[in-house]
């Protein structure tokens, strides 16, 4: 489930472009100039200046955090800073970003300090416990924001590197496909895509890594002429599986692909270049991979990841051998492999792709001068700490991982807080609404401005909120279960398989807790409104605040419930199943026009327009139409329902069929257009839109002519009046 996918679909529906276009262009103005000059001052080169400046800033920061203002002073202070931030955000420049971030950090620190010292109850009772809980949740969010901001302040975006023209210098790649817990169809689909990787065949070896010793997968591997690596003894986790496979293979690079989705054909061409230039680079990965923590510019990455929802890591064998294979530490430090590599002084990189449709490949053959996808520039984000093995920086990174891991719990606290206050009458914020507003509002505004600044190319902050909420519910159960599991058993547990997380992730059954939260917030909203209308004014202020809060929660939760159903729909099509026009030619010579239900699957399902008498296991010819071309395959069919036919394509035709699948899917990222019923969200039906357009076409010339006529007449009239004068 990828809410970003939904967002993208929605944008697609409304005909809005994606990506860079949504960014607001920054101004190049005096502020950018001054700040740039400030950073270029020669003073910074003098010894000790930086230290002194840092000390000054730190003490100023401490002072600003702890100083207590009256309501009006606080108002003046925060309004000034908000105005400064609003002014500065329009300007370009990295220093301006830093300025905005530091303003936000100061204001937030001030808010958190004030919350901890002035708004908690003094006695030990339920109010204190709840208040402390909420405070901790806020503190958690604050720490998380600060650590993640520190990590992605200096993302080094690098352009894709060309490979040498001669493939003689290209490294040999072993592709490991992790098959555990995956269906045969999924494995076949990924393996077929891996075979289609644009890389010389003699230095590309594909291995299926399966822990469950399934005979059918072994047979499949044999027929597809790829290797099937399985250990003699049963390994329950994939890490041991990978380490076993590493020992059995010898390519310079190891690519680890998870089986729940397919790699793009140009994947290796776009990634291996960095290994050739950066001798120090040990590992490259897509953000979702289990071998390393989430990327530093995490949000960006998550956005990018969704567009190619596969997990991928490319590792240099020699360096992996130095750290003794893939690390198999507990789940909370799943970044261990990357950290170990970094500790040895090697760097690791993350991979994002500008997710745009690429042109269709000219042929499926590998050509040395094969095109470089020029409009599709992946970039590399180095961990800012990767090049130095400074311990505290690594610790900060791990700390941030741990914080992110527990993210769902505070989010739940936010969702429950208004209900607790309005329904159970727990007063866990002991202050006046005005003071709370004066502290909290600037904190929220600054956080919003900063996050917009950092991510504006990649996300809308409000929609991101919906997304985070979605994710919280999704991750919560996993968090709790994994935590308990590791605590209780102390066994070395690796990450859960991808399919568990994805299987029916957001259907209504799973959405039930959110329905309950939604109902609670609705109830809180209703009771809060009732309170507002009946009770005294001084209580009302705080109540009003919580009513607004619960209203916000209701909105977010409603949006979350609204996408639950669609999410399931999208999940079903994670593998881009296409509805292509098709034809069945029966043995009698009669034909039937139909559509494919699940095109790239080998067990092709065809939707018939009317019931036909077809005997089970009869031989027919199936044609699939794609881009004005027709591809014909002999197949054996069986009626599944009255209107669904299942066709098995085998023999030599299967190779043609698989090539067709690869060719059809090599068209890049336009697959939302393939989704069925993608127009259902249109506010007006197609026919009406076309009729309206026709009406407009007819009416527009008339209006224009009439306008011209009026203008002429009036113009003449005015001239006459003018002359008379």
């Amino acid at each position: 489930m990828n809410p970003w996918l939904l967002l993208r679909l929605w944008r697609d529906r409304w005909g809005k472009s994606d990506g860079q276009n949504r960014a607001i262009p920054f101004l190049e103005g005096p502020l950018s100039l001054w700040t740039h000059r400030l950073t270029q001052l020669s003073v910074w080169g003098l010894p000790g200046v930086v230290t002194v400046a840092a000390l000054c800033c730190l003490s100023l920061f401490g002072l600003l955090m702890v100083v207590q203002f009256s309501l009006y002073d606080q108002l003046i202070f925060s309004v000034t800073l908000v105005c400064l931030a609003l002014y500065a955000r329009a300007y370009a420049g990295h220093f301006v970003t830093l300025l905005l971030v530091s303003l936000s950090v100061v204001i937030s620190a001030r808010y958190i300090y004030w919350r901890l010292t002035s708004t908690l109850v003094q006695d030990i009772n339920s109010d204190l416990i709840f208040g402390l809980g909420l405070c901790l949740a806020e503190l958690h969010l604050w720490l998380l924001t600060i650590t993640s901001t520190m990590q992605d302040l200096w993302p080094a975006k690098k352009k894709a590197l060309r490979l040498p023209r001669e493939p003689a210098g290209w490294p040999a790649v072993d592709v490991f496909i992790l098959c555990s817990d995956q269906t045969v169809a999924n494995i076949r689909s990924t393996a077929t895509a891996a075979q289609a990787l644009n890389w010389p065949k003699r230095i590309l070896k594909i291995h299926l890594l399966d822990s469950s010793l399934r005979a059918e997968i072994k047979t499949m591997a044999n027929t597809m002429a790829i290797s099937y690596l399985t250990p003699a003894e049963y390994f329950h986790d994939r890490v041991s599986l990978i380490n076993h496979a590493v020992a059995k293979t010898d390519g310079n690079l190891i690519a680890i692909i998870e089986c729940h989705s397919n790699p793009e054909a140009d994947l290796l061409k776009m990634t291996v270049g960095w290994f050739l230039r950066e001798n120090n680079l040990a590992m490259l990965q897509t953000p979702g991979h289990f071998l390393a923590p989430a990327a530093s510019a995490r949000i960006m990455e998550i956005f990018e990841e969704t567009s190619r929802s596969f997990s991928f890591a490319l590792i240099r064998r020699s360096m992996l051998a130095e750290i003794g294979g893939v690390a198999s530490e507990p789940v909370t430090t799943r970044s261990h492999t990357a950290l170990k590599l970094q500790a040895l002084g090697y760097s690791t990189g993350y991979l994002g792709f500008a997710a745009r449709a690429e042109p269709a490949p000219e042929s499926q053959q590998i050509s040395v001068e094969s095109r470089w996808p020029s409009d599709q520039e992946p970039f590399l984000v180095y961990r800012p700490f990767g090049d130095q093995s400074l311990l505290w920086k690594l610790r900060l990174a791990s700390f941030q991982d741990v914080l992110s891991f527990f993210r769902p719990i505070p989010r739940l606290a936010y969702l429950l807080a208004p209900a607790a206050c309005l329904l159970l009458d727990i007063r866990f914020i002991q202050t006046t609404a005005a003071l709370l507003g004066a502290y909290a509002l600037p904190h929220v505004i600054h956080a919003y401005i900063t996050s917009q600044r950092r991510h504006q190319q990649h996300r809308f902050s409000a929609l991101a909120e919906v997304w985070e909420t979605l994710l919280a519910g999704h991750v919560l159960c996993m968090t709790a279960v994994t935590l308990l599991w590791t605590e209780l058993t102390q066994r070395k547990k690796t990450w859960q398989s991808g399919i568990d997380q994805r299987r029916g992730a957001f259907d209504w059954k799973v959405a039930l807790p959110w329905l309950i939260l939604f109902a609670l917030n609705l109830a809180a909203l209703a009771s809060g409104l009732a309170h507002l209308l009946t009770s005294r004014a001084d209580i009302n202020e705080m109540n009003a605040l919580f009513v607004v809060w619960s209203l916000y929660n209701v909105m977010v939760l409603a949006a979350r419930l609204a996408v639950a159903e669609e999410g399931r729909e999208v999940l079903l099509h994670a593998r881009r199943q296409a509805h292509l026009p098709a034809m069945i030619r029966l043995a009698s010579g009669r034909t039937l026009s139909c559509t494919t239900e699940n095109f790239p699957e080998l067990a092709l399902s065809l939707k018939l327009p009317s019931p036909v008498p077809i005997e089970n296991q009869s031989r027919v010819n199936i044609s699939i139409f794609h881009n004005h071309h027709e591809f014909s395959f002999p197949a054996q069919v069986a009626l599944e329902t009255e209107l669904t036919l299942r066709a098995g394509i085998d023999g030599p035709a299967r190779i043609v069929y698989e090539s067709l699948a690869v060719a059809a899917y090599s068209r890049g990222q336009d697959w939302p257009k393939w989704l069925p019923a993608r127009d259902t969200g249109d506010p007006l039906p197609r026919w009406l839109v076309s009729d309206l357009a026709a009406v407009r076409r007819r009416v527009a010339p008339f209006v224009r002519d009439f306008g011209n006529f009026l203008r002429m007449r009036l113009g003449r009239g005015w001239r006459q009046i003018w002359k008379k004068k």
Binding site: M583, R585, S588, G589, R590, T591, L592, S593, L608, P609, S610, N621, S623, H628, E630, F631, S632, P634
Partner: protein, 254 residues
């Protein structure tokens, strides 16, 4: 009014079936009373496709020899297509008719105009194969000429003759549009597929984007005296015909 001629250099390419079925498909798209077919083929077979028994009245041949217009000849069918049959003409009548045609190159166009058809009619004309007087008449009055081909060696061999004929005609009628249509395509047959690809390469844009797949339903439909769209609406041939009709409407409107 749009006049569409259906021609071929070689017999047996399914021209008459295509004319009838395409007329039925056009009628489904355009609505009733919008499509007429004129049979200029002395085989006098077109009306069978619409379930019309051999007519009592004369066809276009005798009617024309008598010097009358065609108003009385049109027969309505159950498939919303008006059919003007050639008529069961004797050999003498046919020769006389052909002599009449060769004397006046614009004769057909005049008669269609005089037939009292509405402005928004589409008239499809079926012709005998080869370069005949009928073909000349069609080229003189048609807005669009469909040249029917099979993906086989015979059709391929006739292309040069057709091309030189087209060159000649396009110098006389510069606004004439002609397009090749591939009939009875079967890509599961390797020879058929290869010739189809060859034709596609050779003709390029001049081959219609939609070919009609070979389908037993087409022959069966004739046995039941129905257009294939009525006989087997879900077959591929019906599907292709409907698409071809849609494409033709766009082409004619352009």
């Amino acid at each position: 009014m749009s006049v569409v001629g259906v021609v071929s250099m070689k017999g047996g390419v399914g021209k008459t079936s295509l004319t009838a079925n395409l007329a039925a498909a056009l009628s489904t798209k355009l609505g009733s009373g919008r499509v007429s077919v004129v049979d200029l083929d002395p085989q006098n077979a077109l009306h069978w496709h619409f379930g019309i028994e051999d007519p009592e009245t004369n066809g276009v041949c005798q009617q024309s020899l008598r010097g009358d217009d065609w108003r009385g000849v049109a027969l309505t069918s159950a498939f919303d297509v008006d059919c003007l049959p050639y008529g069961a003409a004797s050999e003498v009548d046919r020769e006389a008719f052909e002599a009449l045609l060769s004397a006046k190159p614009d004769w057909l166009g005049e008669h269609i105009r005089q037939a009292g058809l509405d402005e928004d009619r589409v008239v499809l004309i079926d012709t005998p194969p080869g370069s005949t007087v009928y073909l000349k008449q069609v080229f003189a009055c048609a807005d669009l000429v469909l040249i029917v081909l099979l993906a086989d060696a015979g059709s391929y061999a006739t292309i040069p003759a057709m091309e030189s004929w087209l060159d000649e005609m396009s110098s006389v009628y510069p606004h004439l549009r002609s397009i090749y249509v591939l009939n009875q395509v079967d890509r599961s047959d390797s020879f058929n597929r290869d010739v189809a690809d060859l034709l596609q390469r050779h003709l390029g844009e001049r081959l219609a984007p939609i070919g009609i797949h070979s389908d037993e339903a087409v022959s069966e439909a004739l046995a039941f005296q129905q257009p294939v769209l009525a006989y087997d609406p879900y077959g591929q041939a019906s599907h292709d015909l409907a698409q071809l009709a849609a494409w033709m409407i766009t082409t004619l409107n352009r």
